[in-house]
């Protein structure tokens, strides 16, 4: 028996990393927790709206199974179903745990948890803590981890950057190469396994709703070491963000959950004060086009509608790329109580009071459904075997991933308030599997020759030294901005193959320009310049993964909209027809007359499309390019069917 306690290296202290750390500590493990900045400042604090769990406190008939159905449907069936189902079944327990940890969730008059509605569902299943749910959840986990740190079980390495995994001769991960962002020292740490909980990659697009460290670099580094990257092309564009210079600040979906209405003046370039425009001269396009879901259609649908109104119908407010998000019909007291902090953000950055004037918003890059590929093991009953070491393991043995940086759960489009859930869920769920992974290892990191670690360190020292010495003509920050602009112009809401081809060429040009970068600072103390160049290098690779995936996937699914391949769903189509169609098909040929006119042809198109494209995109690094292949999705529990949000 090994005397040492199992020990792990967790990279990232957002919700996923902290949840994993807490769970592992509870199982007596030792954890080294690594983060760019103090973990309490991680991006998760930005989440405003809430976290989902089907507890059904209002007798609406909600259940974890409904939550599961909404999630896979919202994601256009591209998610592996046993994992999603397990997450939805664990959700109520997760909310109860967070409640016990002291999260200041809003309460009912009786003092129990309050829930509200969010996009993509007809139920009130979103728990929330004022306007800063993410901050409150993160602090609760941060506090638990601080307790374990106080007790000596956790060692925090903040102001440290993860560079890569240390792989032994059998390609098993035995530790990590780290970079001390103050001293510049590069060194390795050893552990039974490494968990990447490094969040989303939105900074690849330059301007987004994300925080500045959401750069996607850690997972891309793993991809460059041979790990599979999955569904990169599925980037969620949030319909409602506030235009700004440094950031496109999010206006939470809860603004619509609490009655916010989206509209534009019916007359193009109407320059009147919005409050003076009479009802009948306003175009509430979401409500008109989706009478049942109204303003609470899922994000991909809302973003496309806004795009259409602005660019095709040319009805943007004042001729600009903006639409109104209007809350002025709600009472000031109600808004203060339910949305106070969220509306404060708008006033703080625009100087206007959204309680009095309609907000002006536009879609912005927000979330990546794709991420590093991870495994799972189901229990044969449509849920997950929580003891399995395969859960959340990447395609590199011993390298795990959790939170926004993995690709599971959200398929082709994420529903609001499901991400905080998936982050905490993966962090907690993977714990027992990680412990059993350690216990079943034949050889541990102690048995790995020290040269393996020394070589990894030396390689990175050389690499970073190389970046530090780059003395060309290109400013890396300008390159980063240019890269973002390529993606914003070509790989966003509406995708066309000609533009995607163009983007790939432009990214390749950018890669050439990268060789001529100048390291703007060559000093040796607290110098971010060499890291920035290394990050840019990875992000160029990631831009290729996203763009190539988008180019190859010739269909319209969730956030990936290619009008050329729209299957043109008949207006009077009911998704249940498809279930009936599939059932009937088992008993022989279907007659056209059995369904309304044109429906059978549509369903055939849909079926063929799924056969070809209802697959996970896998990118692997070959010859400096992403090589794309496809993998089956587990749809064993719910029959995929056309989405419709009427």
């Amino acid at each position: 028996m090994r005397k040492q306690r199992p020990s792990y290296i967790v990279i990232g202290g957002g919700l996923a990393g902290l949840a994993a750390t807490m769970k592992l500590c509870e199982d007596k493990a030792k954890v080294t927790l690594v983060s760019y900045q103090p973990v309490k400042r991680s991006h998760s604090v930005c989440a405003q709206g809430g976290i989902n769990a089907a507890i059904d406190t209002k007798g609406e008939g909600d259940s974890p199974e409904m939550h599961f159905y909404d999630t896979v449907k919202g994601g256009d069936f591209l998610a592996n179903q046993p994992l999603v189902r397990d997450m939805c079944h664990q959700a109520p327990a997760i909310i109860r745990l967070m409640d016990r940890l002291g999260v200041a969730f809003n309460r009912t008059p009786e003092g129990h948890l309050e829930f509200r509605r969010f996009g993509g569902t007809l139920y009130s299943r979103t728990a929330f803590a004022g306007a800063t749910t993410g901050q409150q959840l993160l602090y609760a986990l941060d506090e638990q981890v601080r307790r374990y740190e106080h007790d000596g079980q956790v060692k925090k390495l903040e102001w440290h950057e993860y560079l890569s995994a240390v792989l032994d001769s059998e390609n098993i991960c035995r530790g990590a190469v780290l970079h001390d962002l103050r001293t510049g020292e590069i060194f390795t740490v050893k552990g039974d396994a490494v968990v990447l909980a490094t969040g989303g990659p939105s900074q690849v697009y330059g301007k987004t709703t994300g925080s500045t460290v959401c750069n996607g670099v850690a997972t891309t580094s793993a991809y460059l070491q041979g790990a599979k990257y999955a569904n990169g092309e599925f980037i969620q564009v949030h319909p409602t963000a506030i235009p700004g210079q440094d950031k496109l600040r999010l206006m939470s979906e809860s603004a619509r959950g609490e009655g916010g209405r989206i509209w534009v003046p019916k007359k193009a370039n109407d320059s009147r004060d919005p409050l003076t425009i009479p009802e009948e001269e306003r175009y509430y396009f979401l409500e008109e086009n989706h009478p049942r879901f109204g303003n609470l259609v899922p994000r991909d649908v809302a973003s496309r509608e806004i795009h259409d109104v602005v660019y095709n119908k040319k009805l943007g407010v004042g001729g600009q790329a903006m639409v109104y998000l209007d809350l002025t019909h709600q009472s000031a007291g109600f808004l203060e109580h339910r949305l106070g902090g969220i509306l404060d953000i708008y006033s703080k950055f625009t100087g206007e009071d959204p309680k009095k004037v309609p907000m002006k918003i536009f879609p912005a890059v927000h979330y990546s459904m794709g991420g590093i590929w991870t495994d799972y093991e189901d229990d044969g009953n449509g849920l997950i075997d929580h003891q399995s070491p395969r859960n959340q393991m990447t395609s590199i043995q011993g390298l795990y991933a959790a939170g926004e940086c993995d690709y599971q759960f959200h398929g082709a489009n994420r529903l609001g308030a499901n991400s905080l859930l998936s982050c905490i869920y993966t962090g907690l769920m993977m714990g027992p599997g990680l412990i059993s992974y350690s216990q079943n290892l034949r050889a541990h990191f102690e048995d790995v020759p020290s040269t393996v670690f020394d070589q990894a360190r030396d390689q990175w020292q050389e690499r970073m030294q190389g970046f530090r010495q780059m003395n060309g003509k290109e400013n890396p920050y300008v390159l980063h901005q240019d890269m973002g602009n390529i993606l914003l112009a070509n790989v966003l809401i509406v995708r066309e193959n000609s533009k995607l081809e163009k983007a790939l060429t432009e990214i390749n040009d950018l890669e050439t320009r990268f060789k001529d970068v100048q390291c703007l600072d060559t000093t040796h103390w607290s110098n971010p310049a060499p890291s920035m160049i290394q990050q840019l290098h990875c992000q160029i690779q990631l831009a290729k993964i996203i763009t190539r995936g988008a180019l190859i996937r010739n269909e319209f699914r969730g956030a990936h909209y290619k009008p050329e391949f729209d299957l043109n769903q008949p207006k009077d189509f009911d998704p249940h027809e498809y279930v009936e169609y599939i059932e009937k098909k088992q008993y022989g040929e279907i007659q056209e007359e059995e369904f309304p006119s044109g429906h059978v042809a549509y369903m055939k198109r849909f079926e063929e499309c799924n056969e070809r494209w209802l697959k996970t995109t896998i990118a692997e690094h070959k010859n400096n390019q992403p090589e794309i292949s496809f993998e089956e999705v587990n749809t064993s529990l719910v029959q995929p069917r056309p989405r419709k949000y009427d």
Partner: protein, 250 residues
Amino acid sequence: MPDDKIIRLKIKRQDQPDTKPYWQEIELPHKPRANVISCLMDIQMNPVTRDGQKVTPVVWECNCLEEVCGSCTMVINGKVRQSCTALVDALPQPIVLEPMSKFPMVRDLQVDRTRMFENLKKVKAWVHIDGTYDIGEGPVIPEKQRAKAYLLSECMTCGCCLEACPQFTKDNDFMGASTFSQVRLFNMHPTGAMESEERLETIMGEGGIADCGNAQSCVEVCPKKIPLTESIAEVGGETTLQLLKNLLLK
């Protein structure tokens, strides 16, 4: 989209903790809705001073850019605040940027606030639970009390209150308003309250609440409008009671 106005910045820089600080003046094209951080980002793209000298980009700390992470605190035109919400159009120019003075210098506008996190450990700023297994909902809490706690739990450890506090210096152990407010938060929670005596004992000791001079400079600068003086008064009252209890039980 730049217009023809310019933004003038005067930035205090320091290469290392033990080297001398120096000033740089930089001019940038004005952009609508610009804030101090968008200016620092613009400098990265063209790090040149007003007199044409090429310099290294400024080093600072930021992350969320929407005033919830607490990273980006600096002294702007003499006042400590978050730089992400410092809108250029609302500031007289030149905009003077300095690092906080009460924490160890790292580089330029970046300082080391480890002390704040260490204080959170000292006062056990957490709810000690039995474990993560599902044993049901937390305690029932009236919405009013929840709302009160929520105000306190928005503290983002930014350090503004400490920079402004006359009692908080680089070479003493004073814990400061944010720490006392966290004590109040956890003592308020039904489960957290089970460790309230230990928390109170801690802030009755070295660097504790007795050293607070009640100058109230802290509450004026808190970007999250946390009712710090109220917290100090309430926790102060609790420590007095605790003191009496200690005397009686001895």
